[in-house]
């Protein structure tokens, strides 16, 4: 069963087409990396899948529910960690998680239990009592992902989860993301080749709003006759997105 089903998805902003006739399926439990340079249309795609933006044309379904006509059903099943850190700055890590758990309708006792579980899952114990505004970029990003996880979503969208992090924090985040694999469907956007290579089951390459290739790395390498994702990406980009 596909957790995400995208058919002819298009988003235009005036004259500019941010996403152009995108077709993509993501099976349940898979981690798919949406790879592309800045402005490729990755974030716009995530926004449409999260019901934060209405498609100009086409349709997208999450867990069988239409993002266009059943946004409430979709929102109950997804978690989003936006590109910018989206936390309540004056609340502690624990309070941020408790708040999000209650937003997803959990009773207080259950929300407290879920927050504690998520703190352990995400390794946030040492900063649980710290206010979000005092955290480093890496910890904030980890909290942001934890907030997206607390509603136990079937699908989670991680929009550039390691953007702006130093190399150690990035590797640490990779470990966290890897630990989520298999628990839920994960759609990760990134413009770091090594990140997509290290984490994803399949890689979807976007160029100028179009999906130019999708598959496991080995398949993309075979298709382009190049070795390594960076070489594959360059080959696809030089091909003008026609492949």
């Amino acid at each position: 069963m596909n957790a995400i089903e995208i058919r002819g998805l298009t988003k235009r902003f005036g004259e500019k087409t941010a996403v152009n006739s995108l077709d993509l399926q993501v099976p349940a439990g898979e981690m798919l990396a949406l790879l592309g340079v800045n402005g490729a249309g990755k974030t716009t795609t995530i926004r449409m899948l999260s019901c934060l933006s209405v498609p100009t044309a086409g349709e997208c379904f999450v867990c069988g529910h239409s993002c266009r006509t059943e946004p409430t059903e979709v929102k109950r099943r997804i978690g989003l960690s936006p590109q910018e850190t989206a936390v309540a700055e004056n609340l502690t890590v624990r309070e941020n998680l408790l708040f999000m758990a209650q937003v997803y309708g959990l009773e207080r006792a259950e929300a407290v239990r879920r927050a504690e579980e998520t703190i352990i899952l995400m390794g946030l114990e040492e900063v649980a009592k710290s206010r979000a505004k005092t955290l480093s970029g890496g910890w904030k990003r980890r909290l942001s992902i934890a907030m997206a996880l607390i509603g136990r979503p079937e699908v989670i969208f991680l929009d550039e989860p390691t953007l702006g992090l130093d190399v150690l924090a990035r590797r640490d985040m990779w470990r966290v993301i890897r630990s989520l694999k298999g628990r839920m469907t994960i759609l990760l956007t990134t413009h770091y080749m090594e990140e997509a290579e290290a984490l994803a089951d399949r890689i979807a390459v976007m160029l100028n709003g179009r999906l130019v290739a999708v598959g496991p790395l080995a398949e993309l390498e075979e298709k382009t006759g190049r070795k390594g994702l960076e070489e594959v990406f360059v080959a696809l980009a030089e091909g003008g997105g026609d492949q």
Binding site: A88, F99, R131, S144, G151
Partner: protein, 257 residues
């Protein structure tokens, strides 16, 4: 729905109550003004016949002045949330526009009423120290007009926070605070000035906010003194809250387009 509203309201209250500036502006500044203006009142000779700074007039005006800062912090809170990705995250959650509107307004109403309570208790203390009569019944009754006036200012804050960005909202609120204090007859008696200034004051709700609280404080329970201004303030509060709710829904839809 109630759980979501409660969670969001608690979060908003925590954000405000953990900011030292909230205490300085919403409580400290009005209290300092109360003390300074009481000292000014003590310096005015009785034969001048100027009673605007007498505690039974002053405390009502100060309570309304304090609520204007609640407006400021409501606007800052909403505009700041909008400027970052925090609201974006919540827009992708099951929260509805009504959850957001009530979640912003309810904690601010509680904060405004707590602020009014503290200012009134302090005013009672000042009245005992200065030997000026301030009726306990009047102090208690003044909570009645202070409730719709709080809704009015919180509605304005939500409206400005929704329509302006986090840089413009505080500036606009500062202008409203200055104008509201001036046209609301907080620091002088608008009735004695007359002319165009009084006409403008009568066209805006600020004057009626102050007038209704002062009337309640002084137990002047006539239609003209208390009930008519209270009716105007209540209608203004309902209209402002409705406008703010419509604006927030419109903004939310625009951002999700």
């Amino acid at each position: 729905m109630m759980r979501r509203i409660g969670a969001f309201a608690q979060r908003n209250a925590q954000e405000i109550l953990r900011d030292a500036l909230s205490y300085i502006f919403c409580l400290g500044f009005p209290l300092v003004m109360l003390v300074i203006m009481t000292l000014v009142d003590q310096s005015i000779p009785p034969e001048a016949g100027m009673t605007i700074f007498r505690i039974d007039n002053l405390s009502g005006g100060i309570a309304i002045f304090g609520q204007m800062f609640v407006m400021l912090f409501t606007a800052i809170s909403v505009a700041r949330d909008r400027s970052g990705a925090f609201l974006l995250r919540l827009f992708s959650s099951p929260m509805t526009p009504m959850d957001f509107i009530l979640g912003y307004m309810l904690p601010m109403l509680v904060i405004a009423l707590l602020q009014a309570g503290l200012l009134l208790v302090f005013s009672l203390g000042v009245s005992l120290l200065t030997g000026t009569a301030l009726s306990l019944g009047g102090v208690l009754l003044s909570v009645l007009p202070l409730t719709p006036s709080a809704v009015f200012f919180i509605g304005l804050g939500l409206l400005f926070g929704t329509l302006c960005n986090d840089k413009a909202a505080p500036g606009l609120c500062s202008i409203i605070i200055s104008l509201g204090a001036f046209l609301g007859s907080i620091w002088f008696d608008a009735q004695t000035t007359g002319g165009v200034l009084l006409d403008i004051s009568r066209c805006l709700p600020f004057l009626y906010c102050t007038a209704s609280v002062r009337a309640a404080m002084q137990l002047r329970l006539t239609w003209e003194a208390l009930w008519l201004p209270l009716l105007i303030v209540t209608c203004s509060a309902a209209l402002t809250a409705l406008l703010a709710a419509v604006a927030f829904r419109w903004r939310m839809r625009a951002e999700l387009a």
